[in-house]
Amino acid sequence: MALNPVKSVLSAGGRHGLAESERRDPIGLAVAALNRLAQSDLVDRLGIRRTSEQTVYKVTHAGFRTIGTVGRSFARKGTSSAGQRIPAANPKGLFDLTPTEDEQMLVDVVTELAEEVVRPAAAEADEACAAPDELLKATLDIGLPTLGVSEELGGIAGERSTVAGVLVHEALAKGDMGLAIAALAPGAVATALSLWGTDEQQQTYLPAFTTDDGVPAAALALAEPTPLFDPRMPATTATRKGSGFVLNGTKSAVVRGADAELFVVGAELDGKPQLFVVESKSPGITIESDPSMGVRAASLSRLILAEVEVDAIALLGDELSYLECLRLSRLAWCALAVGTAQAVLDYVTPYVKEREAFGEPIAHRQSVAFMVANIAIELQGMRLVTWKAASRAAQGKPFDREVALARRLCAEKGMQIGLDGVQLLGGHGFVKEHPVERWYRDLRAIGLMEGAVLV
């Protein structure tokens, strides 16, 4: 189609969040020109702009590109036979809301970490779009990446650890959701390898996760940046080449993409969605920084795969494992929502009792108090629905329905809690002096995210 010069000047749409149909009028043109001038270096050379505005965001800037990190070599070991599997949990047939002693100990440790280390680091990590190394190291020290890996493979799971996983995601997200995701992302890949890997995949990749030092950054990449994305129909494709595959496509919401040494990527093969293990040093990989509304400490990125060739070892599990992965990942996001929503409740409760208006604490007004009550009610509902899905998964029962319900509930009520958290603090909720604005941004992730975390 030939370009119409008049139209191209007047047409404003297609970027800056403008619909294609937007048109400039003469005043609009003048404003646009002024804006371009304001952005140019000329202004700076003339010393008009304040220095604080000159900060150039190298990493936090959307679209900053790099190639995949040149990480370690994963030495091939093992055979293509089925890998180690973790036995299902087997409860006594009683309704019970009490975690096991082991789970409780784990939760206590993670809760302490969340309070002492994660929460204090949250605001800065959100700003920097990166998790501090020492914090990530601390999460490795308590064995988080191996939570879903069987004892035989050097992990800590004696039986299927979905419930423990949910409790840990919840406890860590109470500290900060973004940091929780950054810390839990390697565990998602390790858990996937543990659940669906062949002997060869487990022998080759898992030892790196179970050693005391140097656990690789790794990311489970299922999402794609398209509207109405259905992860069962990824646009990313895998085509067969010899005994291996060639991958093409763009994945989004990839945690710490620039650091990751290993990816588990969702792609369509022969009309079916499948998981592929991809090493970061493979030629054809580009990482693009993709800072988003929230969970910024997770350094979300896009993973661009252009003619990336992988060997036969790359194919992880089958179509059913892909579905299970999808569900278990959504479940992990629900647990994160529960943790962050609990943080909101714990924060607004003392605040509304201290903040006074009209001569008494605002908590003494029903419109305020009922909002807090509803946060507490919906939060507990979210928690129980999430726990039920997790306990069914751990027991090897079907859990597709339960995950779907947990996801709907946590998306809807979690966001409402995020909204109310800000509203209860009024103008103070809108400024970064308080964490509620961050939780508002983080909670918007629930319901739209796929991948990244896994229980």
């Binding site: 409860p91 009490t98 009922f370 807090v372 129980l384 629905v385 039920k388 509930l409």
Partner: protein, 403 residues
């Protein structure tokens, strides 16, 4: 170990209740909705059957009286007892019909009150009695501490005077548990409950209400005029303990609120079950793995409703489970009642909308369930009262601070 499946040992009871609801309640559901105030005679046989099951122990102690908190040695470990069995079986019965469940002989809320606060002698004496609950008065609803019905000690009797409204099964029951004050100046501490057998002179059932829903259940106005009741019929302690205040009487609510929550859960599930089938027949497939937004609006709405339902269901089980394990559960009981109450109306009304004029028509039961569910967000404490209780507990505020 965290496990939210229905307990194995209660499953036969749930299945039994489900069969009763399907084969006994559903076939007469519309009949008694239309014939308001007519006694559902079919229930006599059913009540006899439930008594038999109860005596044989097959029902795990479930039912209106299943909320008693047993004393005795603390057994180690996790317990799944009568509270859980009661909410689960009542849920099934209300999947059948809430109005008929409320009309079930010997399964009244008065029976729950007796089970909650009676001493052992009273429990034995009132065994087999069908008891209604009379709290509300023409001028007093949610603020039950300000009731005006009086009880004046006279020798070995108490003399009651006052008017009670909204007494469920007030005409059909054998006795009424009446809340009355010993001394209005002492406030809530002076409120006591009395078991007044039918036929006691001075007690008159004045009229029956015509209602929006649960029309199978009769709702009576009862007047007490110099009605003389033996002092032995006062439930709990006779003493007016200003410190303990309302706690005795309110303890009943910790036990009955999960029951009412379970009614809303059961009723809403009836709507969801039928609506799912109606939608499927209309070609709407509900896909649990597809994002809600990629499905039809009807399917997405249905998922939302089912998610809300699941939350209410589990909050209800939590409250009952805590009672079984003798954990204080006022907060959780009110959470369950608040969530289930609002979920019940939302789900049943949206299901009518999803089914269109088919749902609105009396040819289906969807419109009836949407009428029945409304009361469940009102009685045993309205939505707003539950929120007040939850807010006070979460915020640690007194009733003087948070009015």
């Amino acid at each position: 170990m965290i496990n939210l499946e229905t307990p194995k040992k209660v499953r036969p009871l749930i299945e039994q209740a489900h069969q009763v609801a399907m084969n006994m309640l559903r076939p007469i559901s519309r009949k008694y909705d239309a014939a308001e105030h007519e006694y559902p005679k079919e229930l006599d046989m059913l009540a006899a059957m439930i008594d038999g099951l109860s005596d044989s122990g097959a029902s795990n102690g479930a039912g209106a009286a299943g909320v008693r908190r047993s004393e005795g040695a603390e057994s180690a470990g996790n317990r799944n007892g009568t509270n859980l069995a009661s909410v689960l079986s009542i849920m099934e019965m209300c999947w059948g019909d809430v109005g008929l469940l409320l009309s079930m002989p010997r399964q009244g809320l008065g029976n729950s009150a007796i089970a909650s606060v009676a001493d052992d002698e009273q429990l034995e004496r009132f065994k087999g009695v069908w008891a209604s609950m009379a709290i509300t008065e023409p001028g007093v609803g949610s603020d039950s501490a300000s009731i005006r019905t009086t009880a004046v000690k006279d020798g070995d009797d108490y003399v009651l005077n006052g008017e009670k409204i909204f007494v469920t099964s007030g005409e059909r029951s054998d006795a009424v548990v009446v809340w009355a004050t010993l001394d209005r100046s002492l406030g809530r501490a002076a409120i006591k409950s009395f078991v007044v057998p039918k036929g006691t002179p001075g007690m008159t059932v004045e009229r029956l209400e015509h209602k929006l829903g649960i029309r199978a259940s009769d709702t009576a106005t009862i007047r007490f005029e110099d009605c003389r009741v033996p002092a032995a019929n006062l439930l709990g302690s006779e003493e007016v303990d200003v410190k303990q205040g309302f706690a005795g009487a309110m303890a009943t609510f910790d036990n009955t609120r999960p029951l009412v929550a379970s009614m809303a859960v059961g009723c809403a599930r009836a709507s969801l079950d039928l609506t799912r089938e109606i939608l499927e027949k209309a070609g709407v497939e509900i896909d649990h793995d597809a994002p809600a937004l990629t499905q039809s609006a009807a399917a997405a709405t249905f998922l939302q409703l089912e998610a809300d339902w699941e939350a209410a269901y589990l909050l209800t089980l939590q409250a009952a489970w805590m009672a079984d394990n003798r954990k204080p559960n006022s907060l959780e009981a009110s959470m369950a009642k608040a969530k289930a109450g609002r979920m019940g109306t939302d789900v049943t009304l949206r299901c009518v909308e999803l089914a269109g004029t088919m749902g609105y028509s009396e040819q289906e039961l969807l419109e009836k369930w949407a009428r029945d569910s409304k009361i469940l967000d009102i009685f045993e404490g309205t939505q707003q009262i539950q929120q007040l209780i939850v807010a006070r507990r979460v915020l640690g505020l007194t009733s003087a601070q948070l009015k």
